[in-house]
């Protein structure tokens, strides 16, 4: 299905929240979603939501190991401390790259490079080239279904009472 960049971003934020990712991390992932869609890598978001990262060097002290939560934290750490972090089991390298680009647009002098050992997040001195993420983008059905399934966990089933009161207007409101 063809989706706009805004639709993709909004869906990814909801999907991340549905997967239990804290709001701020979900927002970061949503901001990265356009890049991932442009790269044809939106499917990696699903992995980032529930696949744990177990091999980090230096060893992670973070509480929760999924990339959606650890990714922003790792970028922050490199930005603040100036020391690189190596991720050796990252199947979601493009998610990490996209998160790094989002951080770069916020002023982070951080870059992400693939090396023999894995994915290295490290400081950099050059100003970033932030790519455009103007849609529309093709999203495969499997990815869309997975994201929608996660997002659906944030929806509240309707009741007759909520239909009448929750949105305001009655069921018939002609003038």
């Amino acid at each position: 299905m063809i989706l706009s960049a805004n639709e993709i971003s909004a869906l990814v934020v909801k999907a991340a929240r549905g997967a239990g990712v804290p709001l701020g991390c979900a927002e970061d992932l949503g901001a990265a979603a356009g890049l991932l869609a442009a790269w044809g890598a939106l499917g990696e978001v699903c992995l980032a939501l529930d696949r744990p990262l177990t091999r980090l060097s230096p060893a992670a002290e973070m509480k929760d190991p999924c990339l959606a939560i650890m990714g922003p934290a790792m970028i922050d750490a490199v930005w603040c401390e100036g020391q690189p972090i190596l991720v050796t089991d990252c199947e979601n390298s493009r998610v990490m790259e996209a998160l790094v680009q989002v951080a770069q647009s916020a002023g982070a002098r951080v870059k992400c490079t693939q090396c023999d050992e894995g994915l290295r997040i490290e400081p950099c001195s050059e100003a970033p080239q932030v790519a455009s993420t103007l849609g529309p983008f093709e999203v495969d059905a499997q990815t869309l279904d997975a994201l929608n399934a996660w997002a659906a966990k944030t929806y509240v089933p309707a009741t007759e009472a909520s239909r009448l009161a929750g949105a305001g207007a009655g069921l018939t409101d002609n003038d």
Partner: protein
């Protein structure tokens, strides 16, 4: 072009005063609002609205295409009128059929484009669209007025102005979608185009063109032309519910931009000399506002009470406008009046000094989004919270009334709703509009030492709140400074604030969470865009 310094201005009203829900819910439109800004642009460009396609049967069902040039680009409205059973007509988002459907198309549609859109637009959210479609909308007929107007025309008569005045529109939109919804174009596709770069300009262009379609449709079915006076009285209605409310929370930089423009305009006007010409304009606007007040009645008790208060206060306001030594002096006095009267007065002040304020509309849009700086020391963030979020941290969210409501997205139609936490299920799935509560929770956990990045690595649940604190530090009008989950939160205040920036008038609240409004009522007709300079939506007749 000369490099002229900006005009003098007073201090802006503080965000602590302006960004309160009750005041935001008392806003009125002004010439800075998006629709008047658009129409002035169209007028300046001498834009011509054409109608290259009119495929309607005698009963008024079929489709039409209108085109107009703006900023060097052509945009077309494709309008589809559908015969639906009256019992299927509803304004709720859960509706599946509408009297009419619309698309704003980028360019001039060919026959294939038209055929595709005629087939898909009536399905609205159930269909998918392309990036050639910029805006998607639908509208229902006013049951009260549409048939009456058509019947008058069929009888060879113009409708009674009082009847027209009572409703003010032939159709009302129930959604106007932009920015990528359902596959239509992301805003970025046209955000740098002259004329459409301002917020919601594509949506405003669509609504204005829809208005013209409704006139043409009534004339076609009625078999006679409506007078220009009657057509001017007919805007486009809108039923606005909770769907619009979360926008103000989701876009703090945009909200800050709008408010800064409005407050800067006021600050410039307050510092300006009150010349006889300016006073004369101001007096005329106040008289127009008085007439507007006289004809404005709503069923909602709170809304009607507010109007009664304004009607009592307005004669005094008019006396003071006539003899105050300066705008600033009157604004300082105005605190004795209700917020509705104060904000009405402010809109008129802005409208009375077009040369001082019109250029500010260029600052309504912003390309920026909130960002997080993890290098900030925690102590610095704590200081920002103490300075900017005292109102949030003073609330005890454990009190039932302070967490009485929860915002959520309904599974049924994916629309925003507001629930009673103490009486309905679903609170655990609430949407994150509880900003104040989140910031207080952040403040509670924030250490005295160390950097924000390290703290957030151990407390990722505070990331969003930290970003909002940093954002507010530089964009003071970016937050609604009220608890949006308390029992005191009236979503209608959020709706009215946003709608005032659109240029909506005739607010007619039906409850605390939805309202009818009218857009483009009194606005120039297509042949009168040169008069857009003089249109004041807050004073429509």
């Amino acid at each position: 072009m000369l490099d002229t310094p900006p005009p003098p201005q007073t201090d802006l009203r503080p965000a602590s005063k302006v960004m309160r829900l009750s005041r935001m819910g008392a806003f009125f439109p002004s010439r800075l609002s998006f629709l008047p800004t658009l129409l002035r642009r169209l007028g300046a460009e001498k834009a011509k609205l054409t109608r290259p396609v009119w495929e309607m049967n005698a009963a008024g069902f079929g489709h039409a295409v209108y085109s107009i040039d703006l900023g060097g680009y052509t945009y077309s409205l494709i309008a589809i009128s559908t015969d639906i059973p009256p019992e299927r007509r509803t304004d709720r988002v859960i509706a599946t059929e509408w009297d009419s459907a619309y698309v704003l198309f980028d360019g001039v549609p060919d026959a294939d484009d038209i055929a595709r859109i005629v087939a898909t637009a009536p399905k609205q959210e159930a269909a998918r669209f392309t990036h050639r479609e910029l805006v998607l909308s639908r509208a229902n007929k006013s049951v009260r007025l549409f048939d009456y107007v058509v019947d008058c025309l069929k009888a060879g008569q113009q409708p009674d102005p009082a009847q027209v005045e009572a409703t003010g529109y032939l159709m009302r939109t129930t959604a106007v979608y932009g920015n990528g919804k359902f596959g239509i174009a992301d805003r970025g596709h046209f955000a740098d185009r002259p004329g459409l770069s301002g917020p919601f300009m594509a949506e405003m262009l669509t609504v204005w063109m829809i208005r013209n379609f409704t006139h043409d449709l009534a004339e076609h079915v009625g078999g006679m032309a409506l007078s220009d006076d009657i057509k001017r009285m007919l805007g486009i209605g809108n039923s606005t519910g909770l769907g619009m409310a979360p926008f103000l929370v989701a876009h703090p930089l945009l909200l800050d931009a709008w408010m800064q423009v409005r407050e800067t305009a006021l600050a410039r006007v307050r510092a300006a000399e009150l010349t006889p010409d300016a006073r004369s304009r101001w007096v005329a606007l106040a008289q127009g506002a008085a007439q507007h007040l006289d004809g404005w009645h709503v069923a909602d008790e709170i809304g009607q009470a507010n109007l009664e208060t304004m009607r009592r206060e307005w004669p005094v306001v008019m006396e003071r406008i006539a003899d105050t030594p300066s705008v600033d002096a009157l604004i300082k006095e105005a605190d004795v009046w209700s917020e509705g009267t104060q904000e009405r007065l402010i809109s008129l002040c802005i409208d009375a000094f077009p040369d001082l304020v019109d250029g500010l509309t260029e600052c309504m849009a912003t390309p920026f989004v909130p960002v997080l700086d993890p290098t900030m020391p925690c102590a610095e963030l704590a200081a920002l919270i103490a300075r900017d979020w005292d109102w949030a941290c003073a609330i005890d969210y454990a009190q039932p009334e302070e967490e009485a409501q929860f915002w959520y997205v309904s599974e049924e139609k994916l629309e925003p709703r507001l629930g009673n936490r103490h009486a309905e299920p679903g609170g655990e799935l609430e949407s994150p509009l509880d900003v104040a509560r989140r910031v207080k929770a952040l403040a509670r956990d924030l250490p005295e030492a160390g950097r924000l990045g390290s703290f957030l690595a151990q407390h990722p649940q505070h990331r969003s709140a930290a970003r909002r604190v940093q954002t507010l530090a530089h964009h003071p009008y970016g937050e609604i400074r009220d608890n949006l989950i308390s029992d005191r939160c009236l979503p209608i205040d959020m709706l009215r604030c946003k709608l005032s920036f659109f240029g909506a008038s005739r607010f007619d609240p039906k409850s605390d969470r939805w309202t009818r409004i009218t857009l483009a009522r009194g606005a120039p007709l297509p042949g009168e865009l040169h008069l857009a300079e003089a249109w004041h939506p807050a004073c429509d007749p």
